[in-house]
Symmetry: C2
Subunit: 250 residues, 2 copies
């Protein structure tokens, strides 16, 4: 047996997230079918996180144990042959047997893309939130800076996903940048609660709209109440961007 | 009556080019239907060029005459409301009555995108050619430089589209650049023959493969023979990028 770490990249627009579910096509299901075509095996596949319907990944890591002897490079090529064009395996390597894509993960980075122009961008359909009012990035960055550090993020977690123990996460990076019409929010942390990034973005948009002040973020965190934060931004702008194991990203 | 110049942007993946045809959905047809919903008019729409099935446009200009009194800004918003998400109207303005999107055009710029990495990019599916062998850009640029100037481009025109008069065009810019895994060929000219850019790209790929030498481009031009040039690159990487009228792009 070998334990393999595979890095995927996918456009999530056509999928109901990563995880296998009934009555909906998930990335995991499609990947599992491609793997079966190559190895005739159906091993348990450990994904680094759940991603919601319509969410994308520039880097998504999975681990699986296989008795098949196919070399990593050939497995990568064979999987890419059988996978649809909106999913690609970027890397495949052998890792120690106790490595687990989710539990060995030290942190992740997400980005959220906003197309901030009056007219929509046809090339960012399903790939960015179209927000046409001007955005004051310095004000949004002032608010985003309050996300950094170790906090209880209960206010930034969808209500029905609570009662899962520790709601504290350590955010190591949070900021927003503009490149032409494209505004990108980047956030890195040791872990994320359910819908945490999308609620962070919805809250920053409330700050941009003047419905909240940047200095209110600490109060919102302290409230530990989902209704204190802004709305949940739509999934189309969200990308799992990097996954950290040991030293740096994979 | 007013004469209007509208600038569109579209992802051409789902369309059989710009021009209306039987049994296939074109950008022009979809635009005409949206225009009819707004103005109840079906004027003749002049497009700046034909684009092939699957070709994209960052900027595509059309002109049309209307008796409707709707202000330009409201027309733009109403059209964007009725158009599908892969087409957008970026600009709408009144122009002199003798303006014609095609005949008044002084030049156009196309770009051609190549994803030059071993593994495909799911986000560039239908939006770039995936070419996985390493590309020697300095060699390709040496060849591309020979495109610049006034030449008979018969060798760079699909055979069945000839006998249309003057085959000379003046290329003012031709070069290729890399940004990470993305390689972009940019070419500007006073006009383009049928499939000219795609054959230019196919020929540059032959140069990269060593099947042709950069210094053979002048011979290929002189041959005035389609078979002397390289193959026609697929449409997915091609974008009409800018359209020039009078002073600079629209």
């Amino acid at each position: 047996m070998r334990n393999l770490l595979l890095t995927l990249c996918y456009d999530g627009a056509q999928y109901h997230g990563w995880q296998i579910q009934n009555n909906a096509v998930s990335v995991q299901q499609v990947f599992q079918e491609a793997l079966f075509k190559v190895t005739s095996e159906k091993p348990e596949i450990k994904g680094c996180s759940r991603t919601d319907s319509g969410v994308h990944a520039n880097q998504y890591c999975i681990s699986l144990k296989t008795g098949h002897t196919i070399p990593c490079e050939r497995l990568l090529n064979a999987l890419n042959h059988f996978l649809p064009e909106d999913i690609a395996v970027q890397d495949c390597r052998e890792v120690p047997m106790d490595f687990h894509a989710r539990y060995s993960c030290l942190g992740k980075e997400y980005i959220y893309k906003i197309w901030n122009e009056p007219v929509r961008n046809p090339f960012l359909r399903n790939r960015a939130l179209h927000y046409w009012y001007p955005l004051d990035l310095s004000r949004m960055n002032e608010a985003a800076a309050h996300y950094i550090g170790k906090h209880d993020f209960t206010s930034f977690c969808t209500s029905d996903a609570r009662d899962r123990g520790d709601m504290c996460r350590t955010v190591t990076r949070a900021g927003i940048q503009r490149d032409g019409g494209l505004v990108t929010f980047t956030v890195a942390a040791d872990g994320f609660l359910y819908n945490m990034v999308r609620i962070m973005v919805g809250t920053l948009l409330y700050v941009a709209q003047g419905k909240l002040q940047p200095e209110q973020i600490p109060e919102i965190l302290a409230a530990r109440d989902r209704t204190a934060a802004g709305p949940t931004a739509p999934p189309c702008g969200l990308y799992l961007n990097r996954v950290f194991y040991g030293e740096g990203p994979v």
